[in-house]
Amino acid sequence: MTSPDVSNGMKIYQYDKSAALFRRAAKVIPCGIYGHFSPTPCVPVSAYPFFSERTEGAKFWDVDGNEFVDYMCAYGPMVLGYHHPVVDEAYQAQMKRADSNSVASPKMVELAEFMVDMIPVADWAFFAKNGADVTNYAAMIARAVTGRNKIIAIAGGYHGTTPWMQAAGHHGTIDDDLTHIRRIPWNDFAALERVVAEHPNDVAGFIASPYHHPIFVDNEMPAEGYWQKVQQFLKKNGIVFIIDDVRCGFRLHMGGSNELFGFKPDLICFCKAIANGYPISALVGTESLKNVAAKVFHTGSFWYSAGPMAAALACLQELKRIDGPKIMADQGKKLLAGMVEISKAHGYHLQVSGAPSMPYLRITDDASLMLHQQWCAECTRRGAYLTSHHNWFVSTAHTDEDIQRTLEIADDAFKAVKQAR
């Protein structure tokens, strides 16, 4: 006799405490849980936990005590595994000495020196807290150095939630926020040429992620030669080339993801994986932009906190030492090969796009995504935390055992999906 909360020996998770906590949250917090942690895109929401209790390695435990192999990795920041001893010790040691205080920390200099040494494009580094802090700063630098207005971005590209980065009609934005923003399709070099021609001497910067990783649709790699043509064209037209490496940074290449694709931007924005979860972001740039960067006033209350800087230094050193991007790519490939095979065995086609260390998956048998949502939900209810709308993340802490367990879950989830249909 099988209990309704067990499937082939696998426990089907319930989230009573999460739901209760959410009801409390809803009374005092807009949306209950806001932003990209909002349960809204999790379909159905009843399959997902809302609150975590603790984390370790590649796993987290929710407030109901359910254990998950985590393929969202805090949406990117977790890269070496939760509570990585090297990073945590560096952070704690720094916190014992000093964190936020009235003057800057030597750790800021050490971290900048390390990044300048490691990242070929970088002649300087600047630190903030979140990705949008540095994408904003990059746009300001581009405008300051060129004296121009327009920023070109990719349609569907995400660079934060500042009004100029949002799509038209979003709450809290006005049409004028987008007056100087032009969006072009990904991989469309002709569109870039056209927009620049339409605005002679008025395009300050071009911002894009190293490959196209929007949500809800397949991710796309750069076409052969695309970035090289873009780099040459932007240079010829005096347009600042900004790479938003917030999501990919240090998951694909320690020198910046552009190194993997063989091109050199003027500015690179980093965040997420830079400090294994400690709050810090960075903008690095070329020597030619350093003086202008100095003139653009941009700051924040916690941008000098030394603890996260120590964590970032330790994280980057450790990722470099172990060749973190290779480990993540290898583990990602194992996971994806297994999942594709299992889906085939069940008669489904699982489309994989993006980098193996941060893949986007989609069951193509149903264009509405409802089937894919159902499968991701069944996986999550069995202990593999993955969303259906966003790329997943693989860390260096995902072990072969974690992957094997995930594949067993994926198999049982496909069985459940088939049964329900």
């Binding site: 009801r23 809803a26 949306c31 209950g32 929401v45 038209a168 009609g169 509405s368 949502q373």
Partner: protein, 253 residues
């Protein structure tokens, strides 16, 4: 397109289509129109047209001109039509002069009843049957308004341009209403009933939840998290739908 013209389209194409359901669900109105056999057409100079046809106890709304209406009412401007909807102006009859008395009495009774159901401050928000019809008609108005705004209003057009192609179904469980919008390369169509192959679905748990959301008493994000509203499929369709829906009160109170 100016605000007044958009409002005129909304009044004729989003609000007036509710007459179809008003006479279906409200018994006094069903009785009122039972023996009507006529078509009333509304024509706005340099603006929208629409008609409502009554026959065999059924009302049919059309978002176009009519070939041979019984009554043709003309409005010199979008503002003229909008003032009529606010009860502050009268139309210019171009056809059906013998029916003017009918328009002032019976037809006005019908439109007054529609106003009653669409404006809770005039109705009985504690009465279950009132709330039911108020919810049905308000939801239909909102979804039909999405088509109007998505095709005509500059900001909504930009939002609609981001909506993936396909059908988006909106329904109230367990017994309806159910409507769907179809987005296709800038074109938008709307219809009552379920979609054949919806790319996305937004389902309200019941009429009470739908009413609370439509009247702004319930936070949509919370409703989703609590399971009171269930979303499925291509959620960018739903996200963008909601952005347009939130613009409807700029034009319709």
């Amino acid at each position: 397109m100016n605000e007044s013209l958009i409002k005129a389209y909304l009044n004729l194409h989003a609000v007036f289509q509710n007459l179809e359901d008003l006479v279906k669900f409200d018994e006094p109105m069903a009785q009122l129109i039972r023996d009507w056999d006529l078509t009333v057409e509304f024509v706005v100079r340099n603006g929208p047209s629409a008609f409502v046809e009554f026959k065999n106890g059924v009302c049919r709304h059309g978002a176009t001109a009519h070939d041979n209406p019984t009554v043709r009412l003309y409005f010199t401007s979008a503002g003229h039509l909008n003032r009529m909807f606010d009860g502050k102006a009268t139309p210019i009859p171009l056809k059906g002069f013998l029916r003017l008395g009918f328009l002032k009495r019976e037809f006005a009774q019908l439109t007054d009843r529609l106003t009653y159901y669409l404006r809770p401050e005039l109705g009985k928000p504690d009465d279950e049957s009132y709330v039911k019809l108020n919810t049905i008609l308000t939801l239909q108005t909102a979804i039909y308004a999405v088509k109007v705004l998505g095709m005509l209003e500059p900001t909504s057009k930009k939002i609609a341009a981001h909506i993936p192609a396909g059908a988006l179904q909106v329904e109230v469980l367990p017994a309806g209403p159910c409507l769907h919008l179809v987005f296709d390369k800038g074109g938008i169509s709307v219809a009552k009933g379920p979609a054949k192959q919806p790319m996305a679905k937004m389902a309200f748990k019941n009429l009470q939840v739908a009413n609370a959301l439509l009247t702004g008493k319930l936070d949509g994000f919370l409703a989703v998290a609590n399971g009171d509203v269930v979303l499925q499929g291509q959620l960018p369709m739903v996200d963008n739908l909601n952005l347009i829906l939130d613009r409807v009160p700029r034009y319709l109170v």
